[in-house]
Symmetry: C2
Subunit: 390 residues, 2 copies
């Protein structure tokens, strides 16, 4: 069996500093997702994938997928498992569910992801952070925590290509502005270029607004084969057209280049070629702006602009509404926050809405969209291409 696969609904819990447990937030997200597809009940779901990175530590909970299934009243008969690829856990879950449906193993799969990071056991989250890269190598050097790594990336990009602190700040100004329309995100507060430039350093040259915040939250989407999709929803169908997920190194010392992300280029090329599209066909994209420098490099390595021009790309408004490709239209990680397992799912929800035509702030006539989700010290990259046309 080879079938077309659609993303038919999605929803999020509120994201931010939450006085709620992981299970509370998975319930909120699941309910919001079911509310987006009134024709579908939890009994129609035959698979569940839960994306989460830190729950073994932060929530003292292994075996999370059956727990979430129970709390959502889902009794999957084809798959019920958790997937973890740190910050890219959510998009990994979408790829795996896509394979199960495309091949006919499952028909309707929920992918839900999220994280509980604000806990009294702060050391648990800290220990997990040290395992972000290779624990015994990067972690023991303090590179488990992302800001020092991405500050080196930013310094190198500035030196090689003349990228400026103003250009970095422009990414956060744009994404905070986009996030104003997203009531579920962590921030609904625009910032000025001056505020961004005058904020305190986290690790130079990265300042406060160059870094995404720490976030509690969850998100959920449902994928279905085309036939079932038509049965459950009247909304315009959005298809997954192509996927790629690549890794060329794990330890930062093995990275071929700090400023050209080879794994991202490989994943992007896989997704583009399977989808039969090229970068210029993408109308709207959610890329992994964990730091402002990330979005700049991603614009280059996804082929939206030339290498080294990522700074100019944002400066000239080419990544904004009305530009070449609207990037991070829901606010991205910089405005929504980043509960690791939830991010790839949130990206999928926003692209689905943009292509359905019911986004909070619509990119006019968007027919083809892309999500990019990275993990670790830029070690693994996931790219998905979505479209109204298959």
């Amino acid at each position: 069996m080879d079938r077309n696969v659609c993303i038919i609904g999605g929803g999020m819990s509120h994201w931010g500093i939450r006085q709620a447990s992981a299970r509370d937030m998975f319930q909120e997200a699941g309910k919001a997702c079911f509310n987006d597809i009134p024709g579908l009940s939890n009994k129609d779901v035959d698979g569940l994938i839960v994306a989460s990175a830190f729950t073994e530590r932060s929530c003292f909970q292994t075996h999370l997928a059956p727990l979430v299934a129970e709390y959502l009243g889902i009794k999957p008969k084809n798959i019920c498992a958790r997937v973890e690829l740190l910050c890219a856990s959510g998009s990994s879950g979408i790829i795996l569910a896509y394979g199960l449906i495309k091949s006919g193993i499952a028909d309707v799969v929920m992918i839900t992801g999220g994280e509980k990071l604000f806990t009294p056991q702060k050391w648990e989250v800290f220990y997990s952070e040290l395992g972000t890269g290779d624990h015994d190598w990067d972690g023991s050097q303090g590179l488990g925590l992302p800001p020092p790594f991405f500050s080196m990336v930013a310094q190198r990009h500035m030196k090689l290509y003349g990228t400026t602190e103003e250009q970095l700040a422009m990414v956060s100004v744009k994404n905070r502005r986009n996030g104003l329309n997203n009531p579920k995100g962590q921030y609904q507060k625009a910032i000025t270029l001056e505020e961004a430039l005058n904020a305190r350093h986290v690790v130079a040259p990265l300042k406060l607004f160059d870094c995404c915040p720490v976030t509690d939250g969850a998100a959920a989407v449902i994928l279905a084969c085309e036939e079932k999709a038509k049965e459950y929803t009247d909304k315009p169908l959005v298809y997954i057209k192509g996927v790629g997920q690549a890794t060329v190194n794990n330890m930062s010392a093995n990275m071929p280049s700090m400023t050209t992300w080879e794994a991202l280029k490989i994943a992007g090329n896989q997704a583009y070629s399977k989808a039969g599209v090229k970068p210029s066909d993408i109308d709207v994209a959610q890329t992994h702006d964990c730091f402002t420098i990330s979005e700049i490099i991603e614009s280059e390595d996804l082929g939206f602009c030339e290498k080294g021009e990522g700074g100019l790309f944002v400066q000239e408004g080419r990544s904004d509404y009305g530009g070449d490709v609207a990037i991070n239209t829901d606010g991205g990680l910089l405005s929504c926050g980043h509960p690791f397992g939830g991010t790839g799912i949130r990206q999928g929800i926003e692209i689905m809405k943009q292509l359905r035509g019911d986004a909070a702030r619509q990119v006019e006539g968007a027919r083809t969209g892309l999500t990019h989700n990275l993990s670790g010290l830029s070690a693994a990259h996931t790219v998905l291409v979505y479209g109204r046309d298959i």
Copy 2:
């Protein structure tokens, strides 16, 4: 694309109490797997799935999949993620990879799983154990640790069906005998019925040899689409014919019955119907004998015998060589041990060898095999049917 999917090779590290890190054991297993397929190199692998349950705690390592990729020289371009469903992580990984290959998303995927449980940080493993069921409910009652739960299951099965302690012991005597032929397992030591019956109680009625041990170890298999399989190996092809993975509850209090495992029946029926086979077609099976009572119930709920006859089934030798279906021919969890993420993979390796005809102790003429892997407090069940014929 709809393609047939083959399991083309597999290998294990030594399992037991190891003075080796998780990364050492993943390397050992990966190397053993590549050695089983001389025609294939790590460059041919376009996907990697790592199955592991406790590594975030026991090894302080999140983001395990890119680490294992780096240590094995694999640069996946289609998938690189970790899957966790506790004791059934390994078989979950095989199902997810099967979907990716069957649908044409990937061609050649390694699934490797394992665990490092003997560490100086014993409390980390203990904390993870408490999250085996629902941490806030079962875990807080001491039911996170499996022996108390499975002792209740055994007591109930004995009361309802007259199952005896001798019949329980016969499972471990059989599986320890089978394990004599497996140099990679934790034990190569047969036990007598008397030894089993006279061993100290762990939780009555379960005695020492009724319980699988704590184990360090890893295992790896490679799946490929049929076309690539023919290219890389001359050994007989073994196909995945059908899969099922079901959950109907997570908390033990929500279990419909302690002695008839509804989720197992659902998963089994899914796998049988997709494979187009019935229980009596199965020549050889690896079932999840974490405790002796488990194998007895599984023999019933997989349809190898009538409900309540699982004790007689082993007593009459129907689950041994020459019986209805040879069960746990490599020693099962009781003899090989149980490094959670590794177990589902080990089961796949043994079934592959039995169907290829090169097992250490061969079931003559085996053409159809089955693996069953459970997780949590019997909350999630995974069944795969393999065959020489597709």
